[in-house]
Subunit: 434 residues, 2 copies
């Protein structure tokens, strides 16, 4: 069979599994997740061995040591992955929640109920733990999942999926609810992206170029995640001590993640007081500043190296100890800068002014807006969701951290006793009995 | 300027307008809608004159009289359109609604707030009243709108948009918040479908082929609306009198709409009692039945003409006095038929059995499931939404009738007083004062 035929077979099996999984209540789903967690721990050695082959291949291919560390699984990491599966099992089940409900004037009882999306496709890079995390979140929310990880982790992912499927075989959740997309070629991603009608939603997790490719080429509806060009705006009315701590935390606490700050904007009124101090502090923290002309001139006069910022710098998600910096003449100037260059992930204002906070929150069109807090709090765990499948930066369906409810759709159910719609309003047909 | 350049100009103006419109509270939006309604009434003659040119052109082009009636505007119809605008103004404003909110354990105040989507593109066919209805719903929900109606209504739509823009010019809502996509060629639709980053969502309203084209070709996120292959399933435990009335109502009360029934499925246990009677009644109502072999044999023995149903018949949205019919051996058989052939719009079960109703509702994966009620109730007006922009048959973002809240996204806002995220948990930086 060709890879394309293989894919169609896998996708059809996932659809069947999704149909069987959707009506399951919480208890059998939780039991299945616990079985998966137990199997991962029991078969950790097997998983680590397969992973060693991926690591060996990556090393021979000249992959950087930092990337290899992301790829690596040891028994401790496998145990952590299993623990995360149990945590997902312990979260409330979103399926069946009545979102809205009323009795209509004509007596129809109307309910909007959460239901699974169906078949969810996940395209991701790097870490093999995503294979299990994503599967657990999808199963818990009643969805089948098609996983397409990095080809560099194909052996690890294959074993992880096999272990999960064999664990599911002894439960009420069909084993086909978790499957790997066959193949490691670019074509195999295309099958997934063109599987409209078989796959209900695609969630790409990874860098900007992966996400752009999926958005451009997919006919399956996509939820964009994760690209974060986050801003910290230091307002004219900011407490500058607070601003400094928030800036440093947002930039340096974990620079490689999407909710880290990538640009700082400083109101001109406080630039004299703030920028030189910030440049010194950022330099001390090992951060390279890419500044506009005004920031650069502060650098020159205080003897701190500032690289010139281009348009590209202001658009960039560095994910490193680099930050773009600009002085703006007003809050509106900050908002305009963010609208122009931002990725609509998270943007923060530091201010003591109620009015400034209110205006910034109303005008910045991002998934999250922070007031006097680090951008680092935009996170499913911090928001109390327990787990997240990603952070949506689009406006449709879900925006911001996506937990279990974001992996569901809804269904309207209305119940009558012979309700007919006529031009004169509702008429109720009467049972005649048999 | 080329049509493509024209489009980009229009779309940029819409984005600017959307940014200005988004933070407006309810009062100025309602005032603007009332101004639009007044202007439509005041300039009804002008509108009717432009419409006469469209009608003249359609007639010369040999358009069927039924289509011409859909295109026609007279002063009474313009007044009805204006009245609908006032009704939209009187609906609650979805923007600013706090959907969820809590204080996190670390003291951050977290709120999820409804915000407009931004720029909404609507692609539609036929009736020029959609031009105004869609604009009113978008403005009320704080969105700018790009309208791409049928080329046959281009003159009518141009005048309607001009009247709306000139009315808006005297209000706080920017006139550019309502614009027509320039041009009447197929290319002009493509500009809209490829305007990712400029347009936030596309809503196609029309037949299956329009919707499929948009879904296939659009890089802008799409909300699919309206194709309805609705089923009525007559269960083994149905009250057959009730089943007959529900079937006839669902099929004949208004056959041209998406929530009309297109297929009837009858449980084998009640086929003898129900099918011959149903064939007679449907014939009396002028309905042509396209039946499977079992239904055809009932037709033959009772002397009623039944056409043979093909796979195509079971897939079809007739929108006419035709219905496909089949006998199924079980409730599961009905569910499998609906999953295979349905469009996931609305499917009804008629039954006295709690268990059958529960199983049907859990297993049919459609936007709406009706129990002992006509499919005709799946409608924004009937559900109490006041107005609808369409009925979504997809699972992402919105499913079923879409009212004003479905034209919004959300934004997370979190407020702290110097909240920093550290590996040891939240630390609160202290204001030092200036």
């Amino acid at each position: 069979m060709s890879e394309a035929e293989d894919f169609v077979k896998v996708a059809h099996a996932a659809r069947e599994a999704a149909a069987a999984l959707a009506p399951l209540p919480r208890a059998p789903k939780d039991a299945a997740l616990y079985a998966v967690a137990d199997a991962l721990v029991a078969r950790a050695k097997e998983i680590v061995e397969a992973n060693a082959l991926d690591i060996e291949a990556a090393r021979q291919g000249g992959t950087a040591e930092a990337m290899i560390d992301r790829l690596r699984l040891d028994e401790r990491r496998v145990e952590a992955i299993a623990a995360a599966v149990r945590e997902v099992a312990d979260l409330p089940d979103p399926v069946g929640e009545v979102v809205r409900g009323s009795t209509l004037p004509n007596g129809l009882e109307l309910r909007q109920v959460r239901v699974p999306l169906g078949v969810v496709g996940i395209i991701y890079e790097g870490r093999p733990n995503v294979t299990v995390d994503a599967a657990a979140l999808c199963l818990k929310s009643g969805n089948a999942v098609l996983l397409r990880g990095s080809s560099s982790a194909y052996r690890s992912n294959s074993v992880l999926v096999t272990v999960m499927q064999e664990a599911l075989a002894g439960t009420e959740v069909p084993a086909d609810a978790v499957q790997l997309v066959p193949g490691t070629t670019r074509e195999s991603v295309k099958h997934l992206m063109r599987a409209r009608g078989l796959v209900d939603v695609l969630i790409p997790r990874g860098g900007a170029s992966l996400i752009n490719t999926v958005v451009e080429e997919s006919t399956v509806p996509v939820i964009e995640t994760g690209v974060g060009n986050c801003h910290v705006y230091v307002d004219a009315d900011a407490d500058l001590g607070l601003a400094m701590e928030i800036l440093v935390n947002a930039k340096t606490q974990r620079p490689s993640v999407c909710n880290a700050a990538e640009t700082v904007l400083v109101h001109a009124d406080v630039a004299d007081a703030f920028v030189p101090a910030a440049l010194a502090r950022l330099a001390a923290e090992g951060v390279t500043v890419h500044g506009d002309e005004r920031v650069a001139s502060y650098g020159a006069s205080s003897g701190i190296d500032v690289r010139p910022a281009t348009d590209e710098d202001f658009q960039k998600e560095y994910l490193s100890l680099d930050i773009a910096a600009a002085v703006v003449d007003s809050l509106e100037g900050a908002v305009a800068h963010i609208r122009r260059y931002g990725s609509a992930h998270t943007d923060a204002i530091v201010t003591r002014s109620q009015r400034a906070a209110r205006r910034f929150v109303a005008r910045v069109d991002s998934a999250a807006v922070a007031v006097n807090a680090s951008t680092r709090f935009t996170d499913g765990g911090e928001f109390g969701f327990g787990a997240e499948i990603g952070i949506s930066t689009q406006k449709l369906h879900a925006r911001g951290p996506m937990g279990l409810p974001e992996l569901t759709s809804t269904k309207w159910v209305y119940t009558g006793e012979g309700h007919l719609r006529t031009s004169a309003g509702t008429v109720i047909a009467v049972e005649r009995g048999e």
